[in-house]
């Protein structure tokens, strides 16, 4: 189970390669500019989330009673993201194909764009769920953590990663290319509002949950 410097570099390379491939595929649905940018941004999203959550993951693991060392936790957490990246990388040919063959958005309609985003969200959920189960099993076997406890640890990591990764994804967007139907797109939109006025991930979720009408929004500044 020991992972040397080369092992860590291999993990990093696998995350960058898998995430980069998938990023390229989803961006290619729009054009090559998006493809290359998403190829850079998607691994950044995965690695950035892992780094930002690193300390909190360790605290959560110890709080939930998993007898793991800090290094074990970092390995497990980064392993989770590597697995997600590799699995998404394997789905990149499908995403590339779907992106290149969807009905193009234009000034009148969004074409096949919503379905394309929906399928990719499904891919993300699928890869995340499988990686979650795998990591829980790794914790269970390698560190002799009881099943329920390891599941609790991994679920808490997933929730944390979702909350942090969601905001990082929002900040790094666009990945798919809808942000600018015309003109040169920015590398990232940061806190620029969406078409519904949301300026961060949590507002997007809030709008979705409350079913608020975008027309109702008036900006407070």
């Amino acid at each position: 189970m020991s992972l040397g410097r080369h092992g860590a570099l291999a993990q990093l390379a696998a995350t960058a390669a898998g995430g980069g491939l998938y990023g390229f595929a989803i961006g290619a649905g729009k054009n090559l500019t998006y493809a290359w940018r998403s190829a850079v941004k998607f691994p950044l999203l995965l690695l950035g989330t892992a780094v930002l959550c690193a300390v909190a993951c360790f605290v959560l693991a110890r709080f939930l009673g998993a007898p793991l060392r800090c290094l074990d936790v970092q390995r497990a957490a980064f392993g989770l993201f590597r697995n997600v990246a590799v699995m998404l990388g394997s789905l990149s040919p499908v995403s590339l194909f779907l992106g290149r063959t969807m009905a193009r958005p234009d000034a009148q309609s969004l074409g096949g764009y919503p379905a394309f985003v929906g399928v990719n969200m499904l891919f993300l959920a699928l890869a995340g769920s499988v990686a979650l189960v795998l990591q829980a099993r790794t914790l269970l076997v390698a560190h002799r953590v009881p099943w329920r406890r390891s599941a609790a640890v991994v679920v808490s990591w997933l929730l944390l990663s979702l909350l942090v990764g969601g905001q990082l994804a929002f900040w790094l967007r666009p990945f798919f290319g809808i942000a600018s139907l015309t003109g040169e797109p920015p590398f990232l939109l940061g806190d620029e509002p969406t078409v519904t006025g949301a300026r961060n991930f949590y507002e997007v979720v809030w709008q979705f949950v409350t079913g608020a009408d975008p027309g109702d929004y008036t900006r407070g500044r």
């Binding site: 780094v51 930002l52 959550c53 690193a54 300390v55 909190a56 993951c57 360790f58 605290v59 959560l60 110890r62 709080f63 939930l64 009673g65 007898p67 800090c70 002799r144 009881p146 406890r149 944390l160 942090v164 905001q167 990082l168 929002f170 900040w171 940061g190 806190d191 949301a198 300026r199 961060n200 949590y202 507002e203 809030w206 900006r219 407070g220 500044r221």
Partner: protein, 216 residues
Amino acid sequence: MPTVEASAPGQPSTTSPPIPFDAPELRAVLRRPARALEVVLAERPRLAASIAAADHSWQLAGILALCTAVASLPYGFVLGAASFWKVAVLYGGSVLLCLPSLHVFGAYLGSHLQPVQNLALSLVVASVAALFTLGFAPVVWFLEATMAQGDWIDAGDASVALLAGALAAGLAQLTRCAGLDRLLLPCRSSRWVLVAWQALVVFVALRMARALDLLG
């Protein structure tokens, strides 16, 4: 260093009772601060046994207080250089304000804990919450850096949620610790005292957060 064999952290041993931390172990936390995570978060049965045994209560209370003060600093600095002390005061101050009520009501309703034992018990809440804020500090820094101010949900709201989550973790740890040793919860009424006291801590922490301008 005494260890409890055949006992996973967080699980009471089936073969022998948990051994309280001794003085060298507690002093070791000062040399290796990362060990505080083990003492406060991971080795719950031993923490509960240490509070119940009352052999090194002042030392344990000191470690927990130090842990509260130090672990909450990064989060405080993220909130602003002038606010670096606020998180420590939020948690430490709230439980200290409520400490007399825990001791008095506990004593009336069947607890035989000394004031210093109740102090250590209270500081479990603050130290666990502070350790959680240590983990959340990079997250809240990132949210501050990427979430625009003045919208429906901003970094201030996220920070409040994280501070509340850290406090909830501290209260959960207190409940779990107290449940591990009969001396800490000798009778049913002690359990009710603990529940009511936790509600009081939440209320006071809310007021404290407002007073410290941490609610945005």
